[in-house]
Structures are given as C-alpha cells and as structure tokens.
Amino acid sequence: MRLYKLRHPSFALYPKQLRLMTNIIWLQGGACSGNTMSFLNAEEPTVCDLVTDFGIKILWHPSLGLELGDNLQSLLWDCILGKIPLDIFVFEGTVVNAPNGTGEWNRFAHRPMKNWVSDLAKVAKFVVAVGDCASWGGIPAMAPNPTESQGLQFLKRQKGGFLGADYRSQAGVPVINIPGCPAHPDWITQILVAIATGRLDDITLDEFHRPQTFFKTFTQTGCTRNIHFAYKATTAEFGQRKGCLFYDLGCRGPMTHSSCNRILWNRVSSKTRAGMPCLGCTEPEFPFHDLKPGTVFKTQTVMGVPKEIPPGMKKKEYALLTVVAKDAAPDWADEEFFTV
C-alpha cells in the first residue's frame, strides 16, 4: 500500500504568526448538500468556532456566503488571479462532465462548474474533497452515470478523476479525500483545523488519499455488536435487539474503513449500533453492487458463507473460525440482548 506523508514547505515559508487567517472557498458540484448539513452539525469545534477560534475565514460557501451573482464572481476571479490567497478549496459533490465532456449540465456563476474547479485547484494551497461524490463520484457516478460524473482525483477505485493522478496542490499534496455519505463533521473540521494550525504534517493519507487517522480502523471497531460477530450470532431481521448485522442483513462494517463507531455520529450513535447495516459508504465502491436486484440489505453468500469476509482473512480459516465460534457460542448470544 502506498502511503502519502504530507510533508510540504508551506508552513516553513509562512511563519504561523504571519498566517493570521486561513481562507476557504467551498463549492458544490453534483451534490446534495449532505456534507454541508453534516458539517453544520459539528460541535467541538462548531462551524462558528472555526471562524472565531481557529482563524478560518470562509470566503464563500453556497449555504453560508453573503455574496450573490456578480459579487461572488468577482471574489472567485480574485482568487484565481492571485489577488486573494486561497488556502483551502473545499469541494462537495461530483464534477459533472455531461453532456459530452462540456460540463454544461452543471453551470455555476455563468460557467460550467468544472471550469471553476479546474481554475481554483490550480491556485489553492490545499484541495479537500468532502464526501464520496467529490472523492470518487458516489451515487451520481453509479451506472449508468448519466451526468458523466467524476471525483476530483478518483473515479470509484480508479485513480485520475477530474484533476488527474498527478495533480498536486500549491502545497505539493494531492487532493485530501474525506469520504463518507456524508462525511462525519469531525472528520471535516479536524482536517480544516489541522491545515489552519500547521499540524497537517502529522497525518498520513492512505492509497485513496484518506487521512489514516479516521480511515485506518474499521466501521466495526467499537461496534456494540462485536461480541455477536465473534460468536456468529445473527440479527435475522430488522427491529430486533440482538445479534450482528453482518451475516444476513448485508452489513459492511467489518470491511469498511471508517471511525463511525469510535467518533460517534451526532454525538450519540452509529448506524450499526442503531440496527442499521453499514452500507460501506466510505469506500470507493459505494453503493456496492450498483444496488442490483437482491443486493440491498442482504448479505451476499455462497453456500451460506458470506462472499466477502473481513480483509486479510483467508476463506478457509474464516470457515474454520465459524465452526469453532458457533460451537463455542453461549446460549445468550442468540437471545434478546439490548433489552429495554
């Protein structure tokens, strides 16, 4: 696995006391605004804290910006022409290329959005993709991809995307991907703060440009159903207070890289804790199997054994473990567990 160390010269060149504000432009392409909504749920720090405590200046954001029309266009051109330094360009949503590579199906401020993306990516010190769509295409890029959508530096698992595999921002780093549908607010705020406070050097990106600090572990890490996973005790159908969602209901928790059960959602829970199977939404393949008939909320199996098993395990050993685990399982593993 090729890892990226985020060593770059920008902070050496600009002593922290001279970098009073970190300018951000946030735009949306083929987006649902879900990452914005998620971002607004942030609590420590809140979106307002970013501005008041961490020196982040949101020059413009579709839901928060003050300017409209011509005034916004002037602001964007000032960034592109270098009159206003652009520290972070955040993009949410896919880059829409339809029809026929022109991008006219997603126009913004009188131009195809993809032209703005291309221009802003050239001047930005850092480019951050929030959510699956900007990272690798997400749902809009699902077959038949009617909008010819791409992520910024990937299309699904394939490297390249809209900006190309060799793209590096002004600070010399590739697009930082914060995937998820949506991305967790803390993943977004922590990366923005890391950039603003010069701590980005400490983190490492994985082969899909995801910060390992959030995406090295599995969704399963910290799930309250781990013990049921170990004993192969299943949740056979929804609305039950027992079992693991992996065996029947299609949960992808063991195979998905995220921190959903370490950094809880909305501070209170996670999908798997609440009984909803993990859909694997931080991985480039989401939505898995292109939602073909028979694949939704249903574990794909061969002769009763899950087709996909936790990464790194061998099929044979997994089968062996299953036999042992089922034999060893205590009676309570199949009884109601998370009781009222």
């Binding site: 979106v47 011509d70 997603n106 909803m276 939704v296 009222v340």
Partner: protein, 531 residues
C-alpha cells in the same frame, strides 16, 4: 424608463444553485425567470435497480431533507408491497420526519435568511444595529446559538437511525431500530435542552403554553405588546424589523397552495394504501385557493408535469409523472422563449400552478375540509387575510409558527412509543405501483415507484422546489417564485438582495429539484460507465 435586465448567477443560500433573470423597470421587477442549472439524473440511476434501492439512493437526493425522502421512499414501498407497519414504526418514522424539520427551522432562519437583515441596505433601519449584533454571519450572538442548536434535534434522528443526515432506517414493514429506555430518555433530554436553551428564552421570549394561546392576528398583536421579553425575542424582533424594512410589501406569488399533509396516525395507517392516506394523516392534505377562499383535498392523481420550458424533449402536454418518457435535451442552451431550466413546471389538473411550503401548509391547516379529528389551526390564514395576502414576511412567520406545533408532536411520539411492542413486520416483496408522500420542511414531497420483476421500472420524485422553482408552463404561466418576484423593488442592481429575499423566503432547495427528473438511457455515455 427603459427596462434593465439583470442575470443573477448564483442566488446563494438557497441550498443548491439557483439562477434568476429579472427585468427591472423604474426600480421594480416586471418580469422574472428562475432556472435550475444542475442536473444529476437520479431517476435514471434508479431504473433497473433493486426494489429497495430508493431507500439508499433517495435520501441522498437531498442532504437537507433526506429523512423526508426516506419517509416517501419507505411509504411508497409499503403501499406497493401491501405491508403491515406496526404502530411503533409509524411513530418512529414520524419522529425522524419531525426532528429533521425542527432542525431545519433555526438552521434556515439564522443560516440562510436572517443574515440578509444585516445587509448595509438596511443600515438606516432603527433595528439595524441590533440585527447585526444578533444575526451577523458566524459572529452574531444568536446566529451562533441558532446554528449550533439546530444540530440538536437530529441527535434524536441518530438515536433511531444511527446518523443524520443519510440514514436508511425506515424500511418496508417498519424501521430497522428497536430503541431502549436509554434512547427514549436521551431523546426527551435533547428535546428539553432545545426548548430551554433556545426555543423559549431566545426564540419566543415566553413559554410554549403562552405561545400556544395565539390563535388569531389580534392574539399575536396582544402577545407582541404584552411585554418586553416578547418584543425582544427573535420572533418579536424579526416581526418588527421585517415590517420596518418592508418585507411585507413584496414576494406574493400565485395565491394557490398545496400540501400532501403528513404524519400518518399510528392507529390509522398500519395497512397503508395510496387511497387511505388522506384520511390517516394528522396534518391534513389540501389545496387552498385564496381567490375563491376555498379548501379541497389533494390527491396524487391531480399532479401534472409540463416540460414546455424545461430542458426535456417531451412535448408540451401536461402529463402525470408516472407517464413521463424521460428525454433530456443534450444541449441545454438558455433560451427564455423556449427552455431555460432543468426543473419542470408542476401543475394541479384543475388549479394550475401551486405554491408549496410552510405557508401553504398553514393556510391549509386553516381549512375545515378533511376529517374532524385532523389538525386545525386558523392563525396563519387569519394573518394572511388581515395583511391582504402573501409576502416574504408572512412566509417567514408561517415557517417559524410550525416550531411549537412540531415540538408537541415530538413529545406525543415519545409518549406513545411502547418499547416492548414490535418495530418491524417482515413483508413479502411484490411487484406493483406505490406512492409515498410527506411534507419536508420546505414543502410537499412525494415519490412514485413502479416495480416489475423485483426491479424498479420507474421512479419519480416531485420535490417542493419543483413546485416552486419551476419555469413557465405550456400556457406561459409563471412558476410560483417567478410570480412572487414580480413587483419586487430593487434598490441597488449591483446587490439585488431583494431577489434573494424572495427566493429564500421559499427556502428553495435546488439540490432536490433538479435531481428529481429524468435523463437519457446512458447508452452513449459508455466511457464513463462504472459498472
């Protein structure tokens, strides 16, 4: 005086990107065109997919009202599969819908709308300095509290669905969760926190009970004059400042309104059918025609879409959404005499163009139509009549008036949940047609689904902003926002903030609108195919 044409791209803070062209004469808008400039083709994506794919895909049409999409997607499958939905599940779905809408109210008011009150245009208003102190972006005292508190209600959604936005916890036959004592207690506590830290002290300046005494325009005036706390609450302050800067003077619209109604009653919709929905929802459906002052029930069969001025090659006739043939125009050139938007024009077969949203809901809540047990509230209808019709200002009042009522419904759901009863009854998958509807925070939302051989044959969505932001129809009738822009004063054409006021008063959500329509088959797009 010559006519000045102004193209505004984009009008921000409307969720998604909206472009508007206005013609201005003597400082007033005399003609307007709204165009949606983004296309994602969700319905194409859904074709041929698993019957349940809508549960995963449609919440992602819109990150703002994903819970509303999920509500529609699940009820659509329930009606197609003829499921039985246990009462706990109906309550848990309603709970998700409710807290998502409550979240949206402060987030919309402070984040999207009230910032405009700090625009330099209003610096001569005697309320200006106070508005800046309260509502300035990021640093305003109440902006910060309001935006932060808006994250609280959806913590309750996360207790049920694991996260907000984008959970898929509503499934045909019920819900995926089975909450325990902890979840219910935390939900109560979150609700109390929301009330005691913002809703009462900052928003209302009084108790919920005192606010609930307001039934008429006169009652509201009495409340406003009653004491300083009421006048200085954000509601009281906004009301006074809005009048001072003339927000009651423009932003009218088409004068006819639609609501699907929502919140199926837990004892009346356990065997969900399309036909049975109107008589089962707590907040009733309806159409209100302000010209004849009449209320009637709404039904999905009354909906028509027209693509005469949209970028689709589907003729000029009005058709029912399930009959659409889905042919987008490849070259989406802007031509204001022909096609200029990805949004279609939605019409009622008898009433024509209708406005959707909180104002529509509240005007319909004031009708005597529907079932005798259904919710009735004549307040906004009374204000509407006393103020001589709709405006930007009245839309705001209608939006925030729902807060206390929705809060009470959340309390009711939490009280009614019976933790040891079922949450899910496993259904049998079937082919057929289904329809699910709800009211998203910003208005009427519905999904049609047609299932054949365990696959989606056709999936159609009409979102609230499709109703509101649509272009002209075949009869050249303007859409509701286009109509509402007529007569809007423009003080400074270089900063046409008034256009923003009108567009934002609909709380438009462009991400829904344009994603809710069909595209082509995908054949010639092979090089971008990912399968």
């Amino acid at each position: 005086m010559s006519i000045q044409t102004l193209d505004i791209s984009p009008v921000g803070r409307v969720e998604g990107d909206l472009d508007v062209r206005v013609e201005i004469e003597d400082g007033y808008v005399v003609n307007a065109w709204t165009h949606a400039e983004l296309f994602r083709g969700f319905e194409v994506i859904l074709r041929g997919k698993d019957s349940q794919a809508g549960l995963i895909v449609t919440p992602r049409i819109c990150g703002i009202c994903g819970g509303s999409h999920l509500t529609c997607a699940s009820w659509a499958l329930d009606t197609a599969w003829e499921t039985e939905v246990p009462r706990n599940a109906i309550l848990a779905r309603n709970l998700g819908q409710l807290v998502e809408t409550i979240q949206s109210i402060p987030r919309y008011f402070y984040g999207l709308f009230a910032i405009d009150l700090t625009n330099k245009k209003y610096q001569h208003s005697r309320y200006y300095n106070e508005a800046v102190r309260r509502f300035a972006a990021f640093s305003g005292k109440h902006y910060e509290i309001g935006v932060t508190i808006s994250a609280k209600p959806v913590e309750i959604y996360a207790l049920l669905g694991g996260q907000w936005p984008h959970s898929s916890y509503m499934v045909p036959g019920g819900v995926t969760c089975a909450p325990t004592l902890t979840d219910i207690t935390r939900a109560w506590s979150i609700l109390e926190y929301f009330r005691s830290n913002w809703l009462e002290p900052i928003w209302l300046g009084c108790s919920l009970e005192r606010y609930e005494e307001i039934q008429t325009y006169d009652d509201f005036m009495v409340w406003l004059d009653e004491n300083r706390a009421h006048r200085q609450s954000d509601l009281g302050f906004y009301w006074r400042m809005g009048l001072d800067i003339g927000l009651d003077k423009f932003g009218g619209g088409v004068g006819k309104y639609v609501s699907w109604g929502y919140l199926p009653h837990e004892d009346k919709y356990q065997k969900p059918t399309i036909e049975g929905r109107n008589a089962a929802v707590i907040f009733k459906s309806g159409v209100y025609d302000s010209y004849s002052d009449t209320h009637t029930l709404m039904d999905h069969s009354f909906v028509r879409e027209n693509t005469a001025h949209a970028w689709y090659d589907e003729g000029t006739a009005d058709i029912h959404p399930l009959d659409r043939t889905t042919k987008p125009i490849l070259k989406n050139n802007k031509d204001f005499n022909k096609a200029y938007s990805w949004s279609t024009a939605v019409r009622h077969v008898d009433y024509g163009r209708l406005e959707a949203g909180p104002l529509a809901r509240q005007l319909i809540a004031g009708g005597k139509h529907g079932e005798s047990w259904q919710h009735y509230d004549g307040f906004i209808l009374d204000v509407f009549k006393r103020m001589g019709g709709p405006s930007v200002h009245l839309r705001q009042l209608a939006r925030v008036h729902e807060l206390v009522k929705l809060y009470r419904q959340v309390e009711r759901c939490l009280r009614e949940l019976k933790l040891n009863e079922p949450w899910y009854i496993k259904p049998k998958q079937k082919d057929g047609r289904g329809w699910g509807a709800t009211e998203a925070a910003r208005g009427s939302l519905c999904h049609w689904v047609e299932l054949v051989d365990g696959k989606i044959r056709n999936y159609q969505v009409i979102a609230p902003t499709t109703w509101n932001v649509g272009p002209r129809d075949a009869q050249q009738k303007r859409g509701p926002i286009e109509e509402a822009l007529i007569g809007t004063p423009i003080t400074d054409p270089t900063d046409p903030i008034e256009v923003g006021h009108v567009a934002r008063s609909f709380d438009s959500c462009l991400v829904c609108t344009v994603h809710a329509h069909d595209a082509k088959t995908g054949q010639e797009l092979a090089r971008f195919r990912t399968a």
